[in-house]
Symmetry: C2
């Protein structure tokens, strides 16, 4: 009998068996004054989940229940909680803690706090407990990382916004995507489809850049103004120095990836912002590639609480619909789902649902 | 007898003999309505000159007189010239032409015009004449790239501002260097010393990052607030996530160059802007290096006419003194000087002077 509270979740026991999920009980850190306890209703399936359980991102603490696109009901709030009400429908994303005291935290950059902790796999300092993600019955989270969900957005569509959505939204607003701007989204997957939806909602001319034309019809259905396939000869020729921003969701910079051809699309001081994190080690760049337009490349990591609330408001007001395939949560379905995601067999996000059937009402 | 006007200059005949200069006559493109003819008084010696004549930057047209940090007297102005008066002391930098009609040109980004031409080595479209630089008696340049020099700045100190100065100044002002900002200048050479002088003049807290401590006293004498030597153990530890901007003047990213250690110095969305262009092919980057602070890397190329005039005004008002060693121009002295520059034996810029002795008054 543990001295800690326990929740139940679907855990992977080791990267060697990353396609096998076990329904286990696990310890939860003590309930804090600023904590919110959430009975989970659904959870999106993120590439990070696959990278983590399969060991692609290095050592992790196992057994582990992943999942960080969580929507559920706040069933208990700590005595000092002011941001969330008991009974509210809320979401939790990929980050669950930061110091809230440093310069980064105080400037709405808490996702860059040096002391940040993720929603799963982080070791809780006082207890040594490893926090567990949203393939679970409940989650216990500091109120700063708990976000009320507007009524207009169904839970299964809100869930993937908690990570994929905010990851695409933040670099768009931080880099001025809006009317009069021309934005490219590289890669049409879970992140990329949100990139298109949000870039359009913000009013930017929005293009998709993909390897082939196979997703062109989907891109247009999401609202994209144009589509470029890098397999085409001279694919970038008609658009040199015309884009203000490229948000890259590519999670692979493999053989044949020609960064310079993308950078040549950027107008003066335009930016390439990467939000996909490849498992491969290195990206090779010729400094000369930056010279003809003074462009910049960089990365963006999630988004702030302020941006999360703004994104949800925009999504509610504009009626943005995530493209989601729902799957009832179970050990078997999780196995199938992570394998399908591993093969990129998804259009464009899975949300695990029917939590009551798996964990009780 | 050439059908074109001719000037005299010290030319290199081939990269194989890049340390040998020949005093030759050369053809000049026809005088245009917007052109200014300048009798050269002095010219700074830029690393680009060495890269160019030694073949480090690939094929060039020889014979060639390099030099693009020119100061002299406007002795003739075309009928449509409005920006320069006959008799004025003026400067010419590394760029001498762009279309002035494209989006880049119309937004003070003429240094990124796809049709830009350099001050030397560019082929003049109508005649096939290869333009020649400032190791010459005269230069003939479109008025847009001819800059009146404020009286307060001696010619030999103004000359290196035409390329090294503006190259360092532009990324500082374009990226907000000023009061309350913390700026690092990587490498204390010709460009770097202007980086320190201008960053301080703009009001930013300014640090120098160098391999060793050998230039620390000079950096402080230039006004630097601090100095970091990358050979020191844990050299970046006390400054993680504190810099807003790093301007890199390093012209080599060789063995042991650890970009990630520099990027870790940047605050959220801070920028590494490279103004040195290495001869080596590639820079290798882990995308992860950008994630912890959402930083960006990029490059900057020269600066606009508007910035050139603002820089000269600032230099005049603040009494900025370029650190210059003057050398009388001659075939022999040019040979010695480019070889010294090639070995980085310069503190911190050479200006070739005494043009009257070489070319006549």
């Amino acid at each position: 009998m543990s001295k800690y509270d326990q929740f139940t979740g679907f855990q992977v026991h080791s990267p060697d068996t990353w396609t096998t999920f076990h329904k286990n009980k696990f310890d939860v850190q003590p309930f804090g004054d600023h904590d919110v306890e959430i009975k989970i209703e659904c959870c999106g399936v993120c590439s990070s989940d696959v990278h983590t359980i399969s060991g692609g991102w290095g050592d992790q603490k196992f057994p582990l229940a992943v999942g960080h696109e969580i929507v559920g009901k706040a069933i208990r709030v700590g005595p000092k909680v002011t941001l969330v009400k008991e009974g509210e429908r809320v979401g939790v994303g990929a980050q669950s803690w930061s110091c809230l005291e440093c310069r980064q935290c105080k400037s709405d950059n808490e996702t860059y706090c040096p002391k940040q902790m993720d929603t799963f796999g982080a070791v809780w300092p006082d207890t040594g407990i490893v926090n567990q993600g949203g393939y679970s019955s409940h989650v216990r989270t500091h109120e700063h990382w708990v976000f009320p969900i507007p009524e207009a957005i169904p839970s299964a569509l809100a869930a993937p916004m908690m990570c994929a959505g905010i990851t695409s939204y933040s670099p768009l607003v931080r880099n001025g995507a809006g009317p009069g701007k021309k934005v490219a989204i590289v890669g049409l997957g879970g992140l990329g489809h949100f990139g298109v939806l949000f870039s359009k909602a913000l009013g930017a001319e929005t293009w998709v850049i993909s390897r082939s034309h196979s997703k062109e019809a989907d891109a247009k259905a999401m609202g994209a103004d144009g589509f470029l396939a890098t397999q085409d000869k001279d694919w970038n020729k008609d658009h040199l120095m015309t884009f203000d921003l490229i948000v890259s969701t590519a999670n692979s910079f493999g053989e044949g990836f020609d960064l310079a051809a993308y950078l040549a699309l950027l107008d003066v001081h335009g930016k390439w912002v990467s939000v996909g994190l490849p498992e491969e080690a290195n990206l090779t760049i010729k400094p000369q590639s930056f010279m003809s337009n003074g462009c910049l490349i960089g990365a963006s990591h999630l988004g702030s609480r302020k941006e999360m609330l703004a994104m949800l408001k925009l999504a509610a007001e504009k009626g943005i619909k995530s493209w989601v395939e729902t799957v009832p949560i179970s050990a078997e379905n999780l196995s199938t789902t992570v394998q399908r995601l591993h093969k990129n067999d998804v259009k464009y996000r899975f949300t695990m649902v029917d939590y009551d059937a798996a964990f009780g009402a």
